[in-house]
């Protein structure tokens, strides 16, 4: 791993950190003003920054007020909308108040609650990232692939707007510029495995970029690399997976799927375009009810695909009709367990119980080297806005909606990846087979 912070150019880095501090203070001031926060710290430094800004990051800073004034009201609105339903425990887990944690979150507090990012823009955050952070925390962009593509696209803008400070090199400094952007996205919503893998690859590209390259060329090369990554690891991979998975759907089959995976949706639409006659059972569950979106896109093709829509409790009576189960994944771990939308494990287990083959559709860039034993070690809670009928604030009831769960490898028949159909137990040998040391 390259050291992101250059040790040598000390004078420059000091002046830079000063500039950063100023910008930081300025940014904070803007948040405070926009969100009408009560604190009034660092007013002075904020004014200083206001008077003497635009030293190193001209366009970035200039753009910001406009875009933020666009964004902040929505964040404020969302937070005020959430306010009545926000529990004491939720606030406590946020770390925003010292109120007593309520009972439900005592076990699950490590999942963390999504924070409203408008309140805590720290450092020099690019407007594209601020916007993306809001879209993440509002679940406007949701799903591993969409988030990864959106992040990489936003990073392309950030990289293009980036200017290497004097006496510094892009390959050494850009990452220090990107780190707070990444941190900002992570505070908006925990980082997905896909984003982690993509960012790791991006870091590798940045540290490997040629020092002698003119800055614009280096930036263009990086953006090209990002485009290639999106194309090779996501878009083309999806096409290959579609081809492979469609072969397993036969005429007269009943395909069961859970919630909505962009990849499963593409597979089903492709199978339909190939004139396969099949019907789909969409199983869905609260709080996100993503299956409705899938149902809409499946029934709006011509002729519409025959669909059955049911909620998770109806699954046992429907699984017997299914010939094949198609599932999407958030990530796939080294021990073969699948981290996916909460409820997936139940579908997979029930399918195994009824000897229905379960095909998991997943690109190789979703593989993670970590081991996942259950859904409790790592998870994420759905924000309160997805549970409108939350109990009254005086009740002892706590609403808890984990977004993901972990499906054991034994419940998955096959994983469809762009390198072929493989059993989930063999995924750890894929990177090696592809000649990569990382995923």
């Amino acid at each position: 791993m390259p050291v992101p912070e250059p040790e040598s150019a000390s004078a420059e880095s000091q002046s830079l950190t000063k500039a950063q501090k100023k910008a930081e203070g300025r940014a904070r001031q803007e948040q405070q003003r926009a969100a009408k926060a009560a604190q009034k710290q660092q007013q002075q430094s904020g004014q200083n920054a206001g008077s003497s800004s635009n030293k190193s990051k001209g366009s970035t800073v200039q753009k910001k007020p406009a875009s933020e004034s666009n964004k902040i009201p929505s964040a404020a609105a969302s937070s005020s909308k959430d306010a009545p339903t926000t529990r004491e425990g939720a606030v406590g887990a946020d770390g925003l108040s010292d109120g007593p944690k309520s009972r439900g979150l005592r076990i699950f507090s490590h999942f963390g609650l999504p924070k409203t990012p408008g309140h805590q823009i720290k450092g020099d955050i690019h407007p594209a990232i601020v916007k993306l952070g809001l879209q993440f925390s509002e679940f406007k962009i949701c799903g591993a692939n969409a988030r990864c593509i959106a992040t990489l696209t936003a990073f392309k803008t950030v990289i293009q707007d980036y200017v290497t400070p004097p006496h510094n090199t892009l390959s050494r400094h850009l990452m220090t510029h990107l780190s707070p952007q990444i941190t900002h996205l992570v505070t908006a919503r925990p980082m997905s495995v896909t984003m982690g893998n993509a960012i790791r690859q991006l870091k590798l590209e940045i540290s490997g970029s040629d020092i002698d390259l003119p800055e614009q060329d280096a930036k263009d090369a990086l953006c090209q690399e990002i485009d290639n990554y999106i194309r090779d690891r996501i878009i083309i991979a999806d096409e290959v997976i579609e081809d492979l998975a469609v072969k397993k759907i036969k005429d007269g089959d009943v395909v069961l799927t859970y919630a909505r995976s962009s990849l499963v949706e593409k597979i089903l639409l492709r199978a339909h375009a190939l004139n396969k006659r099949f019907s789909v059972i969409v199983i869905d569950s609260r709080p996100l009810l993503e299956g409705k979106t899938l149902l809409h896109s499946l029934t709006s093709v011509i002729p519409p695909i025959p669909c059955t829509y049911a909620l998770l409790p109806a699954l046992p009576s429907l699984i017997t009709d299914a010939d094949i189960v198609l599932l999407g994944a958030h990530s796939l771990h080294a021990n073969g367990s699948v981290y996916s939308r909460a409820g997936t494990a139940m579908v997979a287990m029930l399918a195994k119980e009824h000897s229905v083959p379960v095909m998991l559709c997943c690109e190789t860039y979703k593989f993670s080297e970590t081991v996942m034993l259950d859904g409790f070690g790592k998870n994420e809670l759905a924000p309160m806005k997805f549970s409108p009928d939350a109990p009254k604030s005086n009740s002892n009831l706590e609403v808890l909606n984990p977004l993901y769960d972990s499906t054991p490898a034994s419940c998955i028949t096959a994983v469809v990846t762009e390198v072929g159909l493989i059993p989930p137990t063999s995924i750890s040998s894929i990177p090696l087979a592809l000649g990569r040391t990382t995923l």
Binding site: K248, I324, S355, P357, M359, S410, T413, A414, V419, G420, L421, I422, P423, T425, S426, S429, I430, L432, A433, L434, G435
Partner: protein, 351 residues
């Protein structure tokens, strides 16, 4: 060489009793290369792929054959192109193909040695039994039954017989009835051997120490494609907690992932179909598959007869055994767990 010719040479090669389908396919492809006048690697590969396609199209049960073709084409694709001219490279490839087939014949001895260590001598305990299902690896329509037996299982048993006391149950393996052939070979070698009915496997399983199974192909899930009946034996062995060992040379490893029995390439709509008269009249639940005596009359008065050919036509040649039913796969690359097989296959072909 056209499609018909390559199939002819494939069939001719199969007459050699040592050659199993994947090896015969590899040799047929090398023969095609000898006659090919392709001028570039691309042309050659296109020809080879076409030939492999033609072979599998003409064969009734192309699974084993496909494994061989796939291996050979992969080998040619990855072969370093450092020869001075293409014709030299081609000669080299042909030589490599032939040498591989020669070397592959020694794999069975290697597997026999590996499996040998897992066969316990029953010097102390009461008699040990092995339970074997075997099948021919040659397509049905090639009527050369005398050559057909699971060579690797047989060789393993013969090796084991020299140094340990074993006795063997062999299933009849209907509809081809090849189990009888194995029983004869084993008896001739002095191995105590009994033929059991396919339907008596569950009865016999408690007397058995482990199950030894040949294979047509080992697929990417780590599962097994083998003569029909293998799957039910595996299920019974699992239920009785008996180890189920599969023997497979590495050229039978096949990059295919069947999700279920009906996902096999050998499955066709004719298998397990209901005869027209039956489906029109009888309810599916009370189908006429169990043989009815010829005295039973149909609606129009003609006697209903169900012949062996009818039964064979409606039944599959091979079935698929899930990886979780298999204890170990012995192959020339080592004793592998089913997961190990799939990792080996991913490593070989995924790149």
């Amino acid at each position: 060489m056209d499609d018909f010719q390559i199939y002819k040479s494939y069939q001719r090669l199969l007459k050699n009793e040592d050659l199993s389908t994947p090896l015969a396919a590899i040799l047929a492809l090398t023969e095609m290369m000898e006659q090919s006048n392709a001028g570039t690697m691309f042309e050659l590969l296109t020809e080879l792929k076409g030939a492999a396609e033609a072979l599998s199209r003409q064969s009734l049960n192309p699974i084993g054959l496909k494994a061989g073709c796939e291996l050979f084409i992969e080998f040619i694709t990855l072969f370093p192109h450092d020869a001075a001219s293409f014709s030299e490279l081609k000669t080299e490839l042909i030589r490599q193909g032939q040498r591989y087939a020669e070397q592959a014949l020694a794999y069975r001895a290697k597997i026999a040695e590996l499996a040998f260590d897992f066969i316990k001598d029953d010097s102390v305990v009461s008699s040990g039994f092995m339970f074997i299902d075997w099948h021919d690896e040659i397509d049905l329509h090639i009527q050369i039954l005398t050559h057909s037996y699971s060579r690797v299982v047989l060789q393993t048993l013969l090796v084991a017989h020299k140094r340990k006391r074993i006795s063997v149950f062999v299933t009849e393996a209907r509809p081809r009835g090849m189990g009888i052939k194995t029983a004869e070979m084993l008896t001739a070698a002095g191995i105590p051997c009994t033929v059991v009915l396919d339907s008596a496997v569950a009865y016999a399983i408690d007397k058995v120490d482990f199950v030894l199974m040949g294979s047509e192909a080992v697929v990417e899930s780590g599962g097994l494609v083998n003569a029909v009946g293998s799957n039910q034996i595996a299920i019974i062995a699992k239920a009785a907690n008996k180890p189920f060992y599969a023997l497979a040379e590495s050229y039978k490893f096949h990059r295919m992932f069947p999700l279920s029995q009906y996902d096999l390439p050998s499955h066709n709509p004719g298998v397990l179909s209901f005869p027209q008269t039956m489906s029109a009249r009888a309810r599916p639940a009370s189908s006429g598959l169990p043989s009815k005596a010829s005295s039973v009359l149909s609606d129009n008065g003609s006697p209903i007869r169900i012949t062996q050919e009818d039964i064979a036509r409606n039944n599959p040649d091979v079935d698929y055994t899930r990886p979780d039913l298999i204890s170990l796969v012995f192959s020339d690359v080592g004793s592998l767990t089913p997961e190990g097989v799939s990792q080996y296959l991913v490593g070989m072909f995924a790149g």
